[in-house]
Amino acid sequence: MSSVTKPNEKKAIRIPLGERIFYAADDLLMILLCVLILIPLIHVVAGSFSDGASYMAHSGLLLWPLKPTLAAYESVIANQNIWTGYRNTLFIVIVGTSLDMLFSLVAAYVLSRKKYMLKKFFNLMVVFSMYFSGGMIPFFIVVKGVGLYKSIWALILPSLINVFNLVIVRTAMTGVPDSLEESAQLDGAGHLTILFRIITPLILPSVAVVALYYAVSHWNSWFNAMLFIKDRKYYPLQLILREILILSDTDEGFMMSETIQFATIVVATIPILCVYPFIQRYFVKGIMVGAVKG
């Protein structure tokens, strides 16, 4: 981790009492914060392993399962909707993220080149779309107009480029020395070769972060699916989750026991939580660049 550590000061300097209290309070606060962040998650996991009837009778937070059982997970695994949702979401995440990356890399490459007349215009066009948009209804009409209504591609094509992510990649590319590109050009390399063979490998950390952002946003998105997907066969996981977690509270038709809801949450969240620690060390870099040059 590159972040935030201070070199241990020379031991010779005596730490005054006030500072020692400060450090202790700081440690304590941070432990408290971690506990507060984790408690809802522990509650969910504990609930998912609990016995349904015991949970109903219980009130308050759980830190440990009541009458541990796997019953909730068995019902989740038996629920065909969840697996269809999983399959659709995986399709969207894999195909969507690949296309997102392809488009973002190409766009960032062109935007970061020098010496062409429309450079300023292209950059302005891209950045402006970050601050102004047509809004929900015109977007809906356009997506419907190009024939994507009720198609799973409506969850992929309209969100190919996220300008914030694009700016991260563009900034990373600006940092690559020109000389590399020039020598490749002398060797007769075309734009695509320069982009994918020379530049992309050099900015891999930024590429990894941006790919993670895209993947997470595909995995978690539900709103567009609610607007565009009408056939349950194509429901992504989050839309199924919405039925199980949100609509079940208000609508009798979706009634489902809480322990099963918790087990569903665990099943639907574990994959994304498994990926993130591996890319965590690149976060700082990616976010920093995006925020400052946005």
């Binding site: 972040s3 941070m30 962040i37 891209v126 209804i137 965590q280």
Partner: protein, 322 residues
Amino acid sequence: MSTLSKPGKGPVVNKPRIPLGKRIHRDFQMNWRLYLLFLPVLAYFIVFKYAPMAGLVISFQDYKAAKGIMGSKWVDLKHFINFFNDPYLPRLLRNTFTIALSTLLFSFPSAIVLALLINELRSRKMSRVVQTISYIPHFISVVVVCGIIRDLVSRTGGVTMLLHSIFGMPVTNMLYEPNYFVPIYIVSDIWSNIGWNSIVYLSALTAIDQELYEAARVDGANKWHQIIHITIPCLVPTIVIMFILKVGKMFDVGYEKIMLLYTPLTYERADVINTYVYRRGFAENVNFSYSTAVGFFNSVVCFVLVFFTNKITRRLGGNSLW
């Protein structure tokens, strides 16, 4: 940005006296491959970003899907006038403003405070653990977060019980009580984003020259002085930029989360412009043109907000987005 930073390197850029037509011709001859490469990207932006902007014209029409944009009747500012007379308008503005301002007052500074506290941790290991844990909620989808909230604040939920035993608050489903809505929204927003939002400040903190602190210590500055006179001033540029971004998004309050949490019982406190746009577009009393007009109003307000915050901060301190 960096186009003109190295004079003498770009033959095209550096000879502005060549007539325009010839320059375009030469530019195209040199760069047509680049333009070709950009074509799909350009198409994407035109279709999915700029066509919807053009689609805003339906807010001046009585749009009928069957007739399309070309065939629908023009009605000038009817929908905007109706919106300004909408009985819900005061409620929408008040809620949007309350939620936006609360986010700015509570969520925004919380990440800065967290970054400062993590930065002062002496144990490297501890700071890593705190960071890892505090980033986790960011990866949990909004649907799941709202599912958890629903459970925690229900009649028998953990938070309801906790507040009951500590403050003696009544045992009810808090999501059905309008007055609890904003606090629930803000607290869960902080839970989701405090860690993630602190990253940018943390990396700004690591960039501070350690010699500054040593010099200050030699001069007898204690921890508190150091934080006030070194750490925070060094953070200000980052804070300003994040603030501009935040203000720009202010009226774009997280409507996805609101839609998953509110019920007609809590509209009084929870309904914001964006959720109203959705309901008038798809759910109740559907009217595409009216809904678009409301959305258009919102977009313009957002844009004006970013524009002016940026202008003001640039005048004040020189930190700006463009």
